[in-house]
């Protein structure tokens, strides 16, 4: 499968601050890719480099083989970016906004697709309303539609669901998943890790301008966080032999680290020998949030 986005050794400073410290990253065509990281990690800066809004100090970025600087016109036709900041032009209506955006991409007769975007994003009833009169969530929908007017093969969404209602999140993700199913490559940044966990199949994590994790979701979850065995015991005493495995103890349940299911047998045997009965048992799967915290915590300092 070919490469949709390629960053090679991209560096960017803002004065003293090294916002990007040499990022190497590839997103393959057709992927649903999450770019995660705490505030200030450099996600937006990286996306701005991709869109040509920011010039990297060194390194290069390509969209489907087109360099975003040397071949900027081709690169921009292939990518649609939803910026993080909520911005709009107060002079125009929703439909005018989309028609202009379409025209900037060289598309004159684009009414059918614009109508479909309005429909799919729940904007049809607001088509002739002035941008100023829309709620924040509605403006965000228009921003998504603006990024999609030229049917870009690569779609980048920078925190599209920050501060928006559940209804928009659902309509938005249903539509984006449909586009992904039709072959569009999707890159998103979000603070809602469960969103990334359900939607994405590959994940990169950025911290202070450095890439600290990059893998398939399944591999990342498997490698970065062991499962946890949750036990309720009678009598309520954890045998000394199992103490080293204790992760936490809450509400009368012991959370033990479970490296692989093979060790479960031995743990149960230890309990039996100590004369402790198992009242309740649960194996907790790691979620993306615990992986995220693990990765961000481990790389500290």
């Amino acid at each position: 499968m070919s490469v949709a986005i390629r960053f090679s050794a991209v560096k960017k400073r803002f004065g003293e601050l090294e916002a990007l410290k040499g990022i190497d990253l590839e997103v393959r065509e057709g992927e649903f890719f999450a770019l995660l990281g705490p505030n200030g990690a450099g996600k937006t800066t990286l996306i701005s480099v991709l869109g040509g809004l920011t010039q990297a100090d060194s390194g290069k970025a390509e969209v489907l083989g087109s360099d975003v600087q040397r071949d900027y016109r081709a690169a921009r036709r292939k990518v649609g970016i939803v910026p993080q900041e909520l911005t709009f032009d107060p002079f125009f209506t929703v439909r005018e906004t989309l028609q202009f955006q379409s025209g900037y991409f060289g598309l004159r007769r684009n009414h059918a697709w614009i109508d479909e975007l309005l429909e799919q994003l729940g904007l049809a009833s607001k088509a002739d309303a002035n941008m100023r009169s829309l709620s924040g969530g509605m403006k965000r929908r228009v921003m998504v539609a603006q990024a999609l007017v030229h049917k870009p093969p690569v779609i980048v969404l920078d925190e599209p669901t920050a501060g928006v209602d559940v209804a928009l999140r659902q309509t938005l993700w249903a539509f984006i998943q449909r586009l992904n199913g039709e072959g569009h490559t999707i890159v998103l940044t979000t603070h809602y890790l469960e969103e990334a966990e359900t939607l994405c199949n590959r994940i990169a994590m950025l911290k202070q301008g450095e890439l600290v994790a990059l893998d398939d979701k399944a591999a990342l979850m498997a490698s970065h966080s062991a499962r946890v065995l949750s036990l309720r015991l009678f009598p309520d005493v954890l045998p000394a032999a199992l103490q080293p495995l204790l992760v936490s103890q809450e509400g009368g349940a012991y959370q033990l680290k479970l490296d692989d299911c093979g060790t479960l047998e031995a743990m149960l045997a230890t309990l039996r020998e100590a004369g402790v009965a198992v009242q309740d048992m649960e194996i907790l799967k790691p979620d993306l949030e615990s992986v995220f915290l693990d990765v961000m915590g481990r790389k500290r300092g």
Partner: protein, 251 residues
């Protein structure tokens, strides 16, 4: 081409939707200037033999209005887009630097021409400004508006706040236009100020423009044409270079 025409149309629509402020207001201002100055000076000043002062004043005021509005259109559009952040929707599409430049400048020229025509349409009933050489009139209207539209683009790119833009306007644009012979023939000036006026490109715009109306001017219209065209070329080259390097528009 489609990208250019869309951006051009958007810029036109932007001022036309608020034409009460962007067209009607400047026309009214120019008419008030004319009424006041002609009332005070009509009987005292004769700029050119056989030309009434009121008639003499009309092309100057029309040109001044065109220049100020061409400047206002590009500069206010850009600074608003920069401050609200919606400039990203212009920077993300595959518009070339030339398309960007031409769309902004030509839309501002259109606003200049609309305002200038408005001023003439209202004031010519007060004193007939002859309209001797319409082609000269048109040429200087287009070139003069272009110069100011490009300066507005430069100011809009450079300024980060509204007060910086206001400073550019108050300390550069207004003095250049007021000290250019809008209200007087520069031949009435002392030698020193006459020399200074000859360094001001706006003087040539107004002098050449006025030649188109009366067939009389302070310097040859060909000289004015050369100076104003040269100014357009130099400013355009400079601005395209700014756009190419992404000065202040890209981090």
């Amino acid at each position: 081409m489609q990208g250019f025409s869309t951006l051009f149309y958007k810029e036109i629509l932007r001022f036309w939707k608020v034409s009460f402020q962007t067209v009607a207001a400047p026309v009214l201002t120019a008419v008030l200037y004319l009424l006041i100055f002609s009332h005070v000076l009509e009987s005292h000043v004769e700029a050119y033999p056989g030309v009434r002062y009121t008639a003499f004043l009309i092309p100057g005021l029309a040109m001044m209005s065109m220049l100020q509005n061409a400047f206002a259109n590009t500069s206010s559009s850009l600074i608003q887009s920069k401050i609200t952040g919606n400039i990203v929707y212009i920077l993300l599409p595959p518009l070339s630097h030339l398309e960007f430049f031409l769309a902004y400048v030509l839309a501002a020229v259109v606003r200049g021409l609309v305002v200038g025509s408005g001023v003439l349409a209202v004031t010519m009933w007060l004193a007939w400004p002859e309209f001797k050489y319409p082609l000269w009139i048109l040429a200087f209207a287009l070139l003069g508006s272009s110069v100011m539209a490009i300066l507005g683009l430069i100011a809009g790119i450079w300024a980060e706040k509204f007060d910086q833009l206001a400073a550019f306007q108050n300390f550069i644009i207004v003095p250049l236009t007021f000290l250019s012979g809008v209200f007087y023939s520069i031949h009435s000036l002392p030698a020193f100020w006459l020399g200074v006026s000859h360094l001001n490109p706006v003087f040539y715009m107004i002098d050449g423009f006025r030649y188109g109306f009366f067939g009389a001017s302070d310097v040859s219209p060909w000289l004015s044409l050369a100076v104003v065209s040269g100014t357009v070329v130099v400013l355009a080259a400079f601005t395209l270079q700014l756009l190419r390097t992404g000065y202040k528009l890209k981090h």
